[in-house]
Amino acid sequence: MSTDQPLLPDNQMLFDEAPCGLVVTKEDGTILRSNQTFSHSIGLDAQALIGRRFQDLLTMGGRIFHQTHWSPLMQMQGSVAEVKLDLVHHDKHIVTMLLNGVRREHASGAFYELALFGTKDRDKYERELLNARKVAEDLLREKTAAESALRQAQAELKSAYEEAQLRASFAEQMVAIVSHDLKNPLTAIKMASGILAREERTTRESKMLGHISQSVNRAERMIADLLDLALARVGQGITLSPSTVDLHAFVGASVDELRMTFPEATLVHQTVGTGNAWLDADRVQQIIGNLVANSVAYGDLQQPITITSRVEQDHAVVSVKNQGPVIPDSLMGVLFEPMIRGGNTGTDSRSVGLGLFIVREIVRAHNGVVSVNSTPESGTTFTATFPMV
């Protein structure tokens, strides 16, 4: 019966052909014995391995790891398990193996018994996991960095904005103070030139006094505009003294005055409907003046400028229309902001770019709205609409 049993492999064969690499070393790593499986894994035969140190078969990183990690552990706890190592094959390619090792004490020291398992596929999979983790960590780092950069940019923007506001407010206060202080010397100039004009003058002197008077008037208008800007921006806003007025009569009188100011233009007054309106007449006259001045500056003076006053049931409407070049699209959005000017009108501009801003502020103070329409066919029309209170 027992003779039918096949013979078990002997110990030598079990050792040599074990399904894992087996290596016995001294404590310092010197190889005393190894099996064929191990020889096969790293391409060196057992005889050639005797006397070499096991750690010398490792990559440099593996050797440091051996010295700093698993060699002390072998000594202290007597074993290690599942340590992953990179060995260098005889033909220089790297073989990744898992190591289990035990320390066996004997009278004069200890042997290290090492078992090594190939772990090619597992290693490949683990490296993929590792790479995926690295990618995820990198992405997270990038995201965190981007978020922090964004936060910083927002903070910088906010502080730049606050600084700009502070500067703007300072500049507007300056405008208010300077404009106000300029009024007194102008008044003095005006009075003095008035007194000089009363006496008999040569033609040349009268002409020069006329220039002085015109320039003073222009400077007064500019200062009035600047004061209005300052009121709207840093003060309480433009204040009104409204009263009941006959719209057509009052607009007609304004147009008459403007004919004197702009003799080069043809001004036409049209009326629609009849009735009174509740307005600050001086301020609305200022609106008409500013709009007509714009028409004179930018419109085609060969064609008339039409000022229309219209009384409707709920609204009073004043509009100013001229022919000529249309307002560019790029200007439309900012037309009513301060310091905005149309195309080149030469240096002799009557204002500092506040006309339409003041128009808007006055209309707003009346709870009204101002709009603009500019096409090549129908020309450019500014329309101020005031509610009937």
Partner: protein, 312 residues
């Protein structure tokens, strides 16, 4: 000459009674590190797993190297507890230290570890202090000495290296790519060893008792910390700190050490004016474990100025 000077120094210093050691003082940085609520209870003992043995008039502080913890001193330290106050501790991030205390910024350079060592000296040392540092801890001791000159009476450096990477004429023994390959190995063992980088213990032939209680108790390192510490250790260049350090120093140099080759020991001996270079016949980077008696013999000689007969 220096030995006599040290004896004078000793005479002028009475041992400090243990109960006179002040309780821990907290800095703002500590409070930040530990969180406001834990600040009051924060304790170096907890942070660095400090162990004190013996009550001699001088203090030996053992500081372990990269990859392990204070348990690596078990073959060496006990021989000194009869004549010295012996202090063992774990670097933050290693062994049984408080991982909550691991601050990536603080420990991004060896100077952070050196601050910890000085705190331990302040609160645990009796009399003159001799720092026994293995490997990277030799440089931590050097930096602690530079941070607080006079706090350390002597250094014993086991397998020290001020710079691991070859640069110009200097031979450290490694190239940058070697250090990257170490980081790769640490990375791949992170997966192999699950969450804590402490390898499983197998039954040990002839020593079955050495199993259960010791499982995973040695050299435990959180993988991310191990990687940062590896980078800080192997990328650091402390040559400027070590050159000219006048504190008496014993260099224990293994005859065959991959991590700290002979040339590095010679370099250190040349740049440390009060150094003794002692070659220990040993293979590997841990002579205090594999050749403890040769190490303690050299240490006894070097330490003789600080050894007094112990009076019971």
């Amino acid at each position: 000459m220096f030995a006599r000077a040290k004896c004078d120094f000793l005479r002028s210093h009475k041992p400090i009674p243990r109960d006179a050691i002040p309780s821990t003082i907290y800095t703002a940085a500590d409070i930040k590190t530990f969180g406001a609520t834990g600040a009051a209870r924060m304790d170096l003992q907890h942070r660095n797993n400090v162990k004190v043995m013996g009550d001699g008039p001088s203090t030996l502080i053992f500081s372990h190297g990269f990859g392990c913890d204070q348990s690596m001193w078990r073959y060496l330290a006990e021989g000194f507890t009869d004549r010295f106050t012996v202090v063992l501790y774990d670097l933050v991030g290693a062994g049984e230290s408080d991982l909550e205390a691991y601050d990536r910024e603080k420990y991004n350079s060896l100077a952070g570890y050196a601050r910890d060592l000085n705190e331990i000296i302040d609160h645990y040392a009796r009399g003159p202090v001799i720092v026994v540092g293995h490997s990277v801890s030799s440089m931590i001791g050097t930096l602690a000495d530079r941070q607080a000159p006079g706090s350390i009476a002597a250094h014993i450096m086991i397998g020290p290296s001020p710079c691991y990477i070859d640069t110009d004429d200097y031979v450290g023994g490694f190239k940058l790519e070697d250090i990257h390959s170490l980081l790769d190995i640490l990375d791949s063992n992170y997966l192999g060893w699950s969450s804590t980088m402490a390898p499983v213990i197998m039954g040990t032939p002839g020593q079955p008792a050495l199993s259960e209680e010791l499982t995973n108790s040695f050299c435990r390192t959180e993988p991310d910390i191990a990687k940062q510490f590896a980078r800080v250790t192997f990328m650091s260049d402390n040559r400027q700190d070590i050159v000219g350090l006048a504190t008496p120093t014993l260099i224990l140099q293994s005859t065959d050490d991959l991590i700290a080759p002979l040339a590095v020991g010679d370099y250190l001996h040349a740049v440390l004016p009060n150094s003794t270079l002692c070659l220990v016949a040993n293979v590997g980077h841990c002579p205090h474990m594999s050749s403890p008696s040769a190490c303690s013999e050299a240490m006894e000689n070097f330490l003789s100025p600080w050894i007094r007969e112990h009076v019971n």
